[in-house]
């Protein structure tokens, strides 16, 4: 049955009203500077944080930033927060990406974290010594398997063209088997490929940061212990930023994009819930009064 023209027009107006309401719910908290600066982090974000926090100084941590600008909003804050945490704990992050379109984004994340950490922790951080950015190499899972045998053979130079063979940041790391922790931040199936071809095969502990869409798919791996901790969407980034801030009394970085986005996200969620309830109430009312079939 064709929908009457008047009904279509009414639906189009309702659609635009919803767009305006969602925009307002997101923009107003930023303009009014209403920021939710304290909340309870999820237990699996805390697990990942504690794992990083309890590593010994100079431990090498591989961080794979497997995403491109399409997922920047959710995943960039995670990358920056984890890298800053590594610098705070004097760990040596070794960063790479499996996305050719994410090479410059990953470099930006490393540079942003380095710049912030140099200010916050008062020490000069040098590429190749305090951290390494390896960039991208082709191969997909072959690359992971190759890294499991010979990491420096898989990445003979870093992103900046420096040979990795004698690089201080990679001393003692011949392969993935020499790493205690690998963290993948991704918007794709890479999160599972790292489990299957990396963690389960070479025995390192594995944490993940994923987009909210992928979050529910990761819970079975959390339960089985194949993933030791998880950051789930912008909320996951905010959790990690908050946990990091709690260790930095006196030099709080309140500019974390995850935390700043939480009020807007909560407001928009409340709005969506209200709209779902209102639409259902209207439907039930119309059906009860005989104006709607179904």
């Amino acid at each position: 049955m064709a929908i009457p023209q008047a009904e279509l027009r009414r639906l189009a107006i309702a659609k635009h009203v919803i767009f305006v309401l969602v925009a307002a719910a997101v923009i107003v908290p930023f303009v009014a500077k209403v920021y939710q600066r304290d909340f309870k982090p999820t237990s699996y974000a805390e697990d990942l944080f504690q794992k990083v926090h309890n590593l010994d100084a100079n431990t090498r941590v591989l961080i794979s930033l497997d995403f491109d600008p399409g997922s920047e909003a959710e995943l960039l804050p995670m990358g920056v927060a984890i890298l800053r945490h590594c610098f705070q704990q004097r760990l040596i992050p070794v960063v790479m990406t499996n996305y050719p379109s994410g090479v410059d984004l990953a470099r930006t994340i490393v540079e942003e974290a380095v710049a912030k950490s140099e200010v916050d922790y008062g020490r000069k951080l040098t590429s190749g010594r305090d951290y390494a950015y390896l960039g991208f190499r082709p191969g997909g899972v072959n690359l992971v398997l190759n890294m499991g045998e010979n990491l420096k053979g898989a990445f003979q130079t870093d992103y900046y063209g420096k040979p990795t063979e004698d690089m201080p940041a990679l001393v003692g790391v011949q392969s993935l088997k020499d790493l205690k922790l690998v963290i993948d931040i991704t918007s794709s199936a890479w999160v599972e490929l790292w489990i299957v071809y990396g963690a389960d095969r070479f025995g390192f502990e594995y944490g993940a940061g994923v987009t909210a869409v992928m979050g529910p798919d990761m819970y079975p791996f959390l339960q089985s212990g194949q993933v030791i901790g998880l950051l789930d969407g912008l909320r996951g980034a905010a959790d990690y930023e908050l946990l990091l801030q709690r260790t930095e009394v006196g030099k709080l970085d309140k500019t974390g994009r995850g935390i700043l986005g939480m009020t807007a996200q909560s407001a928009a969620h409340v709005l969506v819930i209200v709209l779902v309830l209102a639409a259902n109430a209207r439907f039930i009312f119309r059906r009860a009064t005989g104006r709607e079939k179904g």
Binding site: V26, A73, P100, V213, P216, H269, V272
Partner: protein, 274 residues
């Protein structure tokens, strides 16, 4: 004489052009006031122009929420083109140049060239064969590369996927039940039993019941009797709960993308204080 619909559409178009002109003026004014591109030089100027272009394109993309329009189409095609171009350049820079061009055409010594040819000739040939898909006459040649890819994928993948997806998951599902019985926590109605054994066990049972019920829902080889329909209904409930969780997380993800763009517009384009 023009039809009333034509008149309404002309008026609407005139209003839209007027509104667009005002919005463009506002955008340029805000960009000039907040970014001040004429007062900058060098890298700062490039950054400022980049922010203005990104802000403009962001707003143009959101104009689709009003309705489809030529500016949105331009931005959409620009996005696809830039993404493809960027991907091609990065693939050349990070993959082909490093793995093919440099080792063979810029080899520092004859020995290095010999080594490169020994190790890289076959992979390069297999790669070239893949591109034969574009030729109707020679597309069969690509099958050699695909055979290798599929064979390798199956050979390596089956064992590791069985381990990671089946054995590890089975172990995780059974462990709470096993712990409840074998590790001395089987003291019903005690607080420790509820926290330490009951809830994990309940979770494992839910996974077990859910898996069987959902599989049964999709099992059409036998007619579903009264009991079968009940199990199927349980399966539907599990599916709906799962879809609900996925939908909720998808809404959260989409809102995060909006929040990301709003943060960019407010903090980088308008340069509002945080």
């Amino acid at each position: 004489m023009p039809e009333p619909d034509d008149n309404a559409s002309s008026v609407r178009r005139a209003v839209e052009i007027g509104v667009f002109t005002v919005l463009l003026a506002v955008f340029l004014g805000v960009s000039y006031y907040c970014q001040d591109p004429f007062g900058l030089t060098g890298e700062a100027l490039a950054h400022s122009i980049g922010v203005i272009v990104a802000a403009g394109l962001t707003l143009v993309m959101y104009s689709f929420l009003y309705r489809d329009n030529p500016l949105f189409k331009i931005a959409e095609n620009l996005y696809v083109g830039v993404a493809l171009g960027y991907g091609a350049v990065m693939t050349w820079r990070m993959a082909l140049r490093e793995e093919v061009y440099k080792p063979i055409f810029m080899a520092p010594t004859t020995e290095a060239l010999g080594e490169a040819l020994v190790w890289r000739t076959v992979p390069i040939l297999l790669g070239i064969l893949l591109t034969m898909r574009i030729s109707r006459k020679y597309s069969w040649l690509s099958r050699y590369s695909y055979c290798l890819l599929v064979g390798w994928g199956a050979g390596v993948g089956i064992s590791v996927y069985t381990h990671s997806y089946v054995l590890q998951q089975l172990n995780a599902a059974i462990a709470p039940l096993q712990d409840a019985v074998t590790q001395g926590t089987w003291e019903p109605l005690s607080g420790a039993w509820f926290l330490g054994a009951f809830f994990p066990m309940l979770g494992s049972l839910a996974v077990l019941v859910g898996t069987v019920a959902v599989l049964f829902y999709f099992f059409f080889s036998v007619e579903h009797g009264t009991a079968g329909r009940t199990v199927s209904k349980v399966g539907i409930w599990f599916l709906m709960i799962s879809f609900g969780a996925s939908f909720g997380n998808t809404v959260m993800a989409r809102l995060s993308l909006l929040i990301g763009r709003v943060q960019f517009l407010l903090f980088q384009w308008i340069q509002m204080d945080q």
